[in-house]
């Protein structure tokens, strides 16, 4: 167990370092930030001064070594754009996304499990068909489109919800809903599929031969065994939730890390790009390890 965690952690650290290196060089290839930070009519002198001030005049491998040296001292650099520590910027935004993501993935998983298993309990029924169609539509709709239409209908047309922003619980409804759509749609499919094969498995036959009540067979035996693949997919979806978060955050003005990442890439705010990647990649690795541990909880056959 401990050796397993150690191995996983060392793999993760290697991957994070690989990722940071990759992104470091890739972002530096995207062009000179001075063009973006200085007015168009700045003089060449001012540009040179800007580059010197931010260490961008050094050869790229020196910049990288400097970055690594600072990293070892837990110095993650200064944001070009925001005039403050890049890590502070990233850590400020991260909890906002995390909150949203946790709510979205929890709700969509719970809902998907309910809908998916009810659909699998009676395959081919009206409920099954509607659930399949709704979930597929959810998984197929472009999220930014749903978000804007949602605002136009519920905030502008009906005046039921605030258009955007943060604050009351009502502010959570639309961003959560939009973020949930795709995970929910995909998870319903996964739950339904694994439930169908679980329900066809031998131990369900045993449970029926034992005379267990139907709910107990579906939720107690079949569902419990279907959770493993569901957790795998939910974990992957949680990882890619940051993708959805980018869109949701920029439309709903949610000050999270997805939007921050996009902005800092567009703005060539390298230190912030690196810090946000470090934060999200670390979070994703922790998530992956947590999922592995969850496997062991869910399936007694799995031991590390």
């Amino acid at each position: 167990m401990i050796s397993y965690l150690g191995r996983r952690a060392s793999h993760s650290i290697l991957s994070v370092i690989g990722l940071l290196t990759l992104v470091f060089f890739l972002t530096r290839l995207t062009g000179d930030p001075s063009a973006l930070y200085l007015p168009l009519d700045s003089t060449a002198e001012a540009r040179a001064a800007f580059a010197r001030l931010n260490g961008l005049d050094q050869p790229i491998h020196w910049q990288f070594l400097g970055y690594l040296r600072d990293l070892l001292q837990l110095d993650f650099g200064e944001s070009l754009r925001q005039n403050r520590s890049a890590m502070q910027v990233a850590l400020e935004a991260f909890p906002e996304t995390l909150k949203l993501a946790v709510v979205a993935i929890t709700l969509s998983t719970a809902l998907a499990i309910l809908v998916g298993s009810l659909a699998a309990a009676r395959p081919g029924s009206i409920f099954d068909r509607i659930a399949s169609l709704v979930s597929l539509v959810g998984a197929s709709a472009p999220d930014f489109w749903v978000a804007i239409v949602g605002i136009l209908i519920f905030a502008v047309g009906l005046g039921l919800l605030p258009t955007s922003g943060t604050g009351s619980w009502a502010h959570w409804i639309m961003p959560t809903f939009v973020l949930m759509l795709r995970p929910f749609g995909l998870l319903v499919q996964v739950v339904r599929g694994t439930m169908l094969s679980a329900l066809a498995s031998p131990y369900i036959k045993t449970a029926r031969a034992k005379g267990l009540p139907r709910q107990k067979i579906i939720f107690g035996h079949a569902l419990r065994n279907s959770l493993l693949p569901v957790v795998t997919v939910a974990g992957d979806l949680a990882t890619s939730l940051v993708n959805g978060a980018v869109v949701v955050e920029s439309i709903f003005g949610w000050p999270g890390i997805g939007k921050l990442m996009i902005d800092s890439i567009i703005q060539r705010d390298f230190a912030v790009v690196q810090s946000t990647i470090l934060v999200t990649a670390t979070a994703i690795f922790i998530l992956n390890i947590a999922i592995d541990l969850l496997y062991a909880v869910l399936d007694p056959r799995i031991r590390y």
């Binding site: 045993t206 029926r208 031969a209 034992k210």
Partner: protein, 546 residues
Amino acid sequence: MSNATILKVEGLTVDFLSDDQPVRAVDDVSFHVSRGETLVILGESGSGKSVSTSTVMDLVDCPPGDIVAGSCLFDGVELSGLGAEARRSINGRRIAMIFQDPLAYLNPVYTVGRQIEEVYESHGAESGKGARAKTIELLRRVGIPEPQNRVDFYPHQFSGGQRQRVMIAMAIALKPDILIADEPTTALDVSVQAQILDLLRDLQRETGMALIMITHDLEVAASMADRIIVMNGGKVVETGIAREVFSNPQHPYTRRLIAALPHGNAAEAPNRRSTAIAGETLLKVEHLTKHYELASGAFSSKRTFKAVDDISFEVRRGETLGIVGESGSGKSSVARMLLGLNAPSAGKAVFAGENIFDMNGKRLMAFRRKVQMVFQDPYGSMNPRMRVYSIISEPWVIHRDILPKDRWKARVAELLELVGLLPEHAERYPHQFSGGQRQRIAIARALASEPELIVCDEAVSALDVSIQAQVIDLLADLRTRLGLSYIFITHDLPIVRHFADRIMVMKDGRIVEEGQTAALFGAPRHDYTQSLLQAVPQPKWLTQAQ
């Protein structure tokens, strides 16, 4: 023994609906069973024996199942068309069922205790502490050691035999009137099989329940049955008192089955040569050892598991060596090492004067031509995406020098005919054949590279009895025609008895006994060999007579 009929099935007909044409799985089947009685339903795969009892338990899904006709009268109640709640009060409480593969049929994520307690709770018999106490008691009864601890173990933490005991405990928890056992010992080693059958007999004596036992194994059937029905193609072909059916089978199918049963008389072994083979040594294995390092925990040191522990033997040209052992005895590891699929930890194997473990490149290729393998599972040993032609000709693709390409087609046809198939079968896919036919294809493939030694790893174990005999006949025939040598690995003593010249008994990675077949069967020296021989089920009427 009471004569009160507890279950009476009459005219049961079950279809499986499929494209356009329903497929009849059970056709007008009738049987009955009384309290305290054991009814055996005997049949090979596809005979409809499982479907008929599953219908009694309401385990057939409709659709695609379709119960066309029939009635099931249980203790005066008509079971077909019973409401869900009424049905539930019968399943598990009045009629219980155990299955072939307890690892699959037990829920892997719950402790065995929990799964047994569930029976008490869902029928409102016991709950909480009471259920747990009863569960522990039950586990003790079915012979699980340390039940108060093992009650919290998960199914995968038990051995195969113990898992079947757990299944039995679960089934008898509420003392049902009928226990249906669907191939309960098929996946088990002979010695374990004997224990489970004993347990079932004991429990039946204690509770007076009726036992319906489904099996394809004539010996098991004979050892358990009071009455027997024989099914074939969904129909009951013969029914009667067990002893009479066995001693005087009426239906041709039953006769054929019983003829295939290896008889106690060793003199009637048509495929075994009586004289010892005195040819040159083809393969000489010395001190062969295979160790596996077991995954170590953070605090425990590494453990090694000795799959094969310092064994030596030899095979002469033209000889058939039988290696017999139960699961985990290391017999398959020996085969895999000889085929170069796994590397040995120590030892050597000299084939035609050269240690095969030192070979590489051309020499290894040459060796691979000379030694071929026939695997247990005729379904798994062939690539499902390849036509028979490609399967048989694959050795020629790999070993370019065996045969020029323009002769492949003709040679495939020849080989197919040699193993008793038709040349036109070359264009088919493996799934279009039956199990026995597939094993013939596998043998044809093995023959394609013109080998000197064929290793058969449980090559007939997965086949029905009647098919087993045919494949053995084929192997024996090829041996004489082509001068082959065999290493024949099996867990099934009766089979080697009729085929092997010499037998080697393995247990826990070691050879415990070795000798000429007749001698070994006649006077087994080692305890283990003796117990293996004794574990072969004896007909009930014989044991009762004793």
